[in-house]
């Protein structure tokens, strides 16, 4: 029976082995081709992109400022991310990486970060549009000559005596508010408590240069409603440029409607300075407060003033990119010098190399020639992993971090373990007296199940960590999961086929002592000897209480019972 199965299994197993190896070749060549195509046409590279901790650069984590009980929606965060990305892109930084992690926004900028870009990112920038009720020069007395709306009420009441009808109604200005306005000091504008007011209440603040004080009505529209803002020169009706710089705003539907109402009202107040003005408030400070020259109902107002090309561009950017749906504070900021990054990368690679050499030495020591299959499998797994990471960093923006490198180095051990499990099973089958070809097939059947189950647990851990964890844990989980999948792939398509083929060679099938699969060394001959052993084992019966002894006896007894009579033993000896 053994002989017949051997005869029939030989061609099929060899054919299967070659088929698997061909598939593996196809996969590797395919990955190479994808990457090569990426390098030629898609801006990919032959090396994976590095994360900040290896490349050097700045990482800023922004945390949304929320009132208690409030949570940021994913939509708001996504919006914030795209706005911050626009801001960073506008500053010309190469390859910024901006995304959400939990409820935080993480900005990673490779290389050096100039103060201007940092300010762009960190300014929380909440844009509100409010009607102007009163203005005053900043550092002044309480007399406000430009303020026609001042209410000479005697008592400092904090609630309006008359319900204000719209955002420009002077009835908003209570005596208490007037008092606050009169005594407001523009130097305090940066204090977190200064110049904040709920959206439906008036606001006292200053402009960004701190030269003018403003008393503003409630919010009429907010920055989220601005779709676009550009700068350009004002053109005449015939299309000729007048040479005057202006900022063109485009509102969305809601903004268009709101702005139409406001502009019609303010245009009606035309001439009543400053109540015909409209203030764009960025983070509590007035960016600009133009007066209304007409009723704008198409949602495309144009701001003119003493703009230069630069100042109109700056204002347009602020209006466009300043429209964050949330306020953010800097939760952490980290700058890593490129030198440090390089030295960490070198340390990581050196550690990996030494680790790999140690593993190679140990495996060769343990499994002799069979160890070379382990090493070849590791090399194949390494090549596939490298290609996958390079492709992923091109397509998915994956970046190799220090934690990721640690994950890869650790994976050397985890990957090699699949081979160990497999080899040990094959050896077990040899010990049971099977010929090598049969042992490889039987051992594979058992080992494959174990490998799948255990790698499934590994993959589960990686997926759970990846889904739930934040920051560097994610990068680590990613590499762990990736290597787990590659590991299973390599065991199926390389290690097992290689063993199937090697089992056919004389070196291995004859059980050369250096092959690592020497049945004699593995004690396969026990089977034949068991008959002689048995009588020796019997007197040991007096220690039947010792389970250790009992087991020895049991095993040999069972072994004999199981032994497919002489066929197995002669086979074992013959090889």
């Amino acid at each position: 029976m053994a002989a017949s199965s051997k005869r029939s299994s030989r061609p099929t197993s060899v054919r299967k082995a070659w088929r698997s190896l061909t598939w593996l070749g196809v996969i590797i060549v395919g990955l190479f081709a994808i990457n090569a195509a990426g390098v030629i046409w898609g801006g990919a590279s032959w090396t994976p992109k590095l994360a900040l901790d290896l490349e050097g650069g700045t990482q800023i984590i922004l945390e949304p400022q929320l009132e208690s009980g409030q949570t940021a929606t994913q939509e708001q965060l996504d919006q914030a991310v795209s706005i911050i990305r626009q801001r960073v892109d506008a500053s010309g930084v190469a390859e910024p990486e901006i995304n959400t992690e939990g409820s935080n926004v993480v900005v990673r900028i490779p290389g050096e970060l100039d103060d201007q870009t940092r300010a762009r990112i960190e300014s929380s920038a909440k844009l509100e549009l409010r009607a102007v009720l009163a203005t005053d020069a900043a550092a002044t007395s309480s007399i406000s000559p430009t303020d026609p709306a001042s209410d000479p009420a005697e008592e400092l009441s904090a609630t309006p005596t008359v319900e204000p009808t719209d955002g420009s109604d002077p009835a908003w200005i209570t005596p208490a508010l007037q008092e606050q306005f009169d005594t407001f000091d523009c130097a305090t504008i940066d204090d977190p408590d200064a110049s904040v007011a709920p959206a439906d209440e008036p606001l006292v603040t200053c402009d960004q240069t701190r030269t003018m004080k403003y008393l503003l009505g409630p919010v009429e529209a907010s920055g989220e409603n601005i779709v676009d803002a550009t700068n350009g020169t004002v053109t005449t009706q015939t299309g000729a440029s007048t040479g005057t710089w202006a900022v063109n705003i485009q509102f969305d539907d809601k903004g268009t409607k709101d702005f139409a109402t406001v502009s019609t009202r303010l245009f009606g107040l035309s001439g009543q300075v400053p109540r015909d003005q409209f203030a764009f408030v960025l983070d509590g400070a007035v960016l600009t407060a133009p007066s209304m020259n007409g009723a704008i109902t198409d949602g495309r107002p144009q701001i003119t003033g003493n703009f230069t090309q630069e100042s109109s561009k700056a204002l347009a950017d602020q209006l466009k990119f300043g429209a964050l749906p949330l306020s953010f504070t800097v939760e952490s900021s980290e700058t890593i010098s490129p030198t440090l990054g390089t030295s960490q990368l070198q340390a990581g690679l050196l550690a990996g190399l030494i680790g790999l050499i140690l593993v190679v030495i140990y495996t060769l020591f343990q499994y002799r020639a069979l160890g070379s299959v382990t090493i070849a499998s590791l090399v194949i797994a390494g090549v596939i992993t490298y290609l996958m990471i390079t492709i992923l960093s091109w397509r998915e923006g994956y970046r190799l971090s220090l934690a990721g490198i640690a994950g890869l180095i650790v994976a050397i051990g985890f990957t090699a373990d699949s081979f160990i499990v497999y080899f040990e099973r094959v050896r077990d089958e040899l010990r049971d007296g099977r010929p090598l070809v049969g042992a490889v097939e039987a051992g594979w059947k058992r080992a494959f199940r174990t490998v799948l189950a255990s790698k499934g647990v590994n993959l589960l851990a990686a997926v759970v960590l990846f889904v739930l964890a934040v920051g560097s844990v994610k990068g680590f989980a990613y590499t762990l999961g990736l290597t787990t999948i590659i590991d299973v792939l390599v065991v199926i398509l390389f290690t097992h086929p290689m063993l199937q083929l090697l089992a056919q060679t004389k070196f291995f099938s004859s059980g050369n002592p250096w092959s690592g699969l020497d049945p004699t060394a593995l004690g396969a001959v026990y089977r034949g000897r068991a008959e002689f052993r048995k009588p020796v084992a019997v007197p040991a019966g007096k220690v039947a209480s010792s389970s250790k002894e009992a087991q020895r006896r049991q095993t040999i007894a069972e072994r004999k019972a199981n032994a497919g009579v002489g066929a197995g033993s002669s086979e074992g000896k013959e090889s």
Binding site: S333, S343, L358, E424, A557
Partner: protein, 338 residues
């Protein structure tokens, strides 16, 4: 030399040589219990150091400094924020690490400039980080959430795969022991608990359970194949499986530990590679503890859980009775010759 482990493996496989992992379980439980208590007590007494990511604060690092004099850093920080508490450490021979209270963004940049000037390096060479105290809490919360979700899912999946919740329970219990011991030993070594260490500890989840599944799969195979005709008690079957996979366990843990150990020793020497150092220490401890607990805790616990099942109990009694009967003639045969 190699053949010695191979022969050892042969003897373990046939049962010629056998370690009584299952039978000696009381001993292992006591040892595990003592280790758990120590893992909780030692860090509790000595205090656990949390890294700056968990405490919140500002940190500055400069590599390859010509004159690694800590007082330069002290002065640089004092020049900007006189009231700040400053800790300066020399890392890797010529690197400087400065930790302070949480500085404002502006102060932080000022200190970077001052340090660059003081140590005469370009400003871009100064690595600075500023971490709000909520960061570490965020990471920890997510990690714990991940831990809980993983335990639950892995427990269910293993119960389905092995078709018994008892294997699942034994595996998860030994995994929890692994986590406690790993954290305890890590803290006892005196390293700071950093996000990198958290990663390492979470990886232990994966490794430890992986290791247990490999051994349990062999146990399942042995006990299932034995069936009713087996002449071994359940505990003996389990023990044989553990012994048969012992060489694998040793080889695997050595192969997994070698690269990790090499990261630990190289990472420890390099400046700023704290990530590598922390991750690898946590992993190294976890790999060793994980292998140990599979053999000494998970398998005995599983055996103990199953032994009380009536069918298995009956079978065990039958086996022992038959064995006694078999032993009697042997003794009586032996007597006359004696």
């Amino acid at each position: 030399m190699a053949s010695r482990l191979t022969t050892f493996g042969n003897d373990l496989y046939t049962g010629k040589r056998s370690f009584n992992f299952v039978g000696g379980r009381k001993k292992w439980y006591i040892i595990a219990g003592v280790l758990i208590i120590l893992s909780i007590l030692i860090p509790a007494v000595r205090g656990v150091h949390f890294s700056i990511e968990f405490r919140g604060g500002s940190q500055f690092q400069i590599a390859d400094v010509a004159d690694p004099d800590p007082s330069i850093a002290q002065d640089a920080v004092a020049g900007v924020v006189p009231e700040a508490t400053v800790t300066v450490a020399i890392v890797g021979g010529d690197g400087i690490r400065v930790q302070t209270d949480q500085l404002s963004q502006a102060d932080s940049l000022e200190v970077s400039k001052a340090l660059a000037e003081g140590y005469d390096v370009p400003e871009s060479e100064v690595t600075s980080s500023f971490v709000g105290p909520s960061w570490g809490a965020d990471v920890t919360r997510q990690a714990l959430l991940g831990l809980g979700a993983f335990l639950l899912l892995a427990g269910i999946i293993m119960a389905i795969y092995f078709r018994t919740w008892k294997m699942s329970l034994a595996a998860i219990l030994s995994l929890i022991v692994d986590l406690i011991l790993t954290v305890g030993i890590y803290a006892a070594v005196g390293f700071e608990i950093s996000p990198a260490a958290t990663i390492g500890i979470l990886t232990i989840l994966s490794y430890s359970l992986y290791d247990t599944v490999v051994v349990f799969d062999k146990i399942r195979e042995n006990t299932a194949e034995d069936g009713n005709e087996s002449r071994r008690t359940f505990a003996e079957s389990v023990n044989l499986a553990v012994n048969q996979t012992l060489v694998r366990s040793i080889n695997t843990s050595v192969v997994a530990a070698l690269p990790v150990a090499s990261i630990l020793f190289i990472g420890a020497g390099a400046l700023g590679a704290d990530t590598l150092r922390d991750i690898s220490l946590a992993l190294l401890i976890g790999i060793l503890v994980g292998t140990w607990s599979t053999v000494f805790l998970a398998a005995p616990m599983y055996s103990q859980l199953r032994e009380r099942e009536p069918a298995i109990h009956r079978h065990d009694l039958k086996v022992l009775k038959e064995r006694d009967r078999a032993a009697e003639p042997a003794i009586s045969e032996a007597l006359p010759t004696a």
